[in-house]
Subunit: 331 residues, 2 copies
DNA sequence: TTGTAGGCGTTATCAC
DNA sequence: GTGATAACGCCTACAA
């Protein structure tokens, strides 16, 4: 009871196998009657084209590798969006989880590209910036987040403009002393956020206690607060993500600082827990699934040598909560 | 500059293409000298077997679909472990993210099985219990967590015995009033935890305020606490996971209840945030990545008609923290 | 509008 | 030990 082939369909429909192929691929000129008959038979016997045979003939594997790191929660949503678009475009998306440094990953990615098994590779976890597919392989490597040639961040993942909004809004509310707790600078998004922070602080002439951090983990946020010299005015902490922010909350509690009087803090990602801490964390809600879709659309477009659809903005919005004293009533 | 084929290797090595195939697959009797020469040439010119051609000939796609739901963070780790094992076993793991009810997923899974594209399907997100591959397809469907025929939970994901430990330990510490906030009973793990809770409470003759819940979300935990009638003794809350537990924390804060005097709570999953809430959440740390490996090993074993390696226990351990008053000093 | 024929790169069955 | 040779299921000139 093996799978029916296009020959079986042809036989049952009383046509040649070529005609079946034409019908299924929409090529050639097939009469409506024939087309309908073939389609009917195919559906009836549950014919499914054999991908392996098709790949062999077309020399296109139809496979895309998605490179994931370990443990970043939002990557799961990104993968979901990416694999959704890949499937719609007729590609199979395989996830590869590669631990280690960006260089480690870069090596593995190059090997995957050289393997000839994949038409494209989407890197969600960070890889070295100048990673290009090896010569002789026509595998397209597309990072989910990048800078363009002029160091403007590209793609929704690297859009850090709302960091500026955080700083501006808090400054307008009277805050003068800021500090940024950044993610690892392997990440384009972390670099973009740090850059946006620096720009805003300098532009507004605010006092900055500097950029600290270097990981996405809560302990880094806690440590940062514990290590801060005592302050006589409220500190506004711009954390790179919600994990760092909850660490900040913990550090503040351990120092006996209360929010929002001694300290205010913003996060990023809108993880569910942030709405249930006390105080709840002001953050940026981002549609990761859609971001994953867009990244994969860029890759698919590159594979088809078409231009990707323009990326309308609007994937992010600020959620003001108790950790900043719930600021913007209007706006 | 297309990829070299086994014919190229054969020509360069001065042997027949058949011999190259023998060398690469370890079949037939090939002399050491020949083998070494072939292997040398293959490595030199960067030969990689063409998967599509191989699949076509062997009638094995080498592909496994992994069914994920939306938004459960730990699924990411499970996938990482599963895809690791799949790759080692020579399979390509493709993740499919299917939203909706278990029934929705079941339908899609059946379709995937019938498509003939996959040799196996690993379901991480819940699907209907009695899901079996359609006749005529030899696609193996293996759930990551299941009950066996006698309703004992199978697989590390469904092991809820530590719920019993929570209840026993808290009872030994003097707690008499318990309540369980359960996850959605689509999940084998949620059902297993609820069952373990009920068993322990009855066995020890404790007072139970019942089983409430029905989702994994923090809001459910918060709501549960807000809806609880006022109590004159400490309530011990056994939450189905850390998200529920942080919701409990929030609800308690809103009611002005303080921990661990008015309420104690346990979570499950050891999400990072749980160590940084105030109070930090007592929970169960589980090696999801290893759990994913084991699940995939079961599937791979089923595909190869071998018996899976025995699953030593020891994937979980309790992490006592402030939300229970840090109980077990010894043991 | 439809059919014939050849080949994609591999594995497997035979001979030698 | 090694080598012809025939599929596997599909696509696509080219012929009819």
């Amino acid at each position: 009871m093996s799978m029916p082939t296009s020959r079986d369909v042809a036989r049952l429909a009383g046509v040649s196998q070529t005609t079946v192929s034409y019908v299924l691929n929409g090529r050639g000129n097939v009469s409506d009657a024939t087309r309908e008959r073939v389609l009917g038979i195919a559906a009836e016997i549950g014919y499914r084209p054999n991908q392996a045979a098709r790949s062999m003939r077309t020399r296109r594997s139809g496979r895309i590798a998605v490179i994931m790191g370990a443990g970043i929660e939002s990557h799961m949503q990104l993968l979901a969006g990416a694999s959704e678009v890949a499937q719609q475009a007729g590609y199979a998306a395989e996830s590869h989880h590669i631990d280690g440094t960006p260089d480690d990953r870069g090596e593995r990615v190059l090997d995957l590209a050289a393997s000839g098994q994949y038409e494209g590779i989407l890197t969600i976890a960070p890889v070295p910036d100048e990673l290009a597919a090896p010569v002789g392989s026509d595998c397209v490597i597309v990072p989910a987040a990048t800078f363009d040639a002029e160091l403007h961040s590209m793609g929704p993942l690297a859009d850090a403009t709302l960091i500026g909004t955080f700083v501006e809004t808090l400054a307008a509310a009277g805050h003068r002393t800021f500090v940024h707790i950044a993610g690892p600078d392997d990440y384009v998004s972390a670099r973009a956020r740090a850059a946006a922070y620096t720009e805003a602080v300098e532009r507004l002439g605010l006092r900055s206690l500097g950029l600290i951090g270097g990981s996405w983990g809560a302990e880094t946020g806690r440590r940062a607060i514990l290590d801060l010299p005592a302050q006589d005015e409220t500190i506004a902490v711009i954390a790179g993500n919600d994990d760092l922010a909850i660490g900040v909350l913990r550090g503040a509690a351990e120092r006996g600082w209360s929010l929002p009087d001694d300290l205010v803090v913003t996060g990023w990602d809108n993880h569910e827990f942030g709405a249930y801490t006390t105080p709840a964390i002001t953050t940026v809600a981002m549609d990761f699934r859609e971001a994953g879709r867009r990244a994969m659309r860029r890759l698919v477009a590159a594979l088809g040598h078409t231009t990707p659809p323009p990326e309308e903005q609007g994937l992010m919005r600020i959620v003001w909560r108790e950790s900043t004293g719930e600021l913007p009533t209007a706006g």
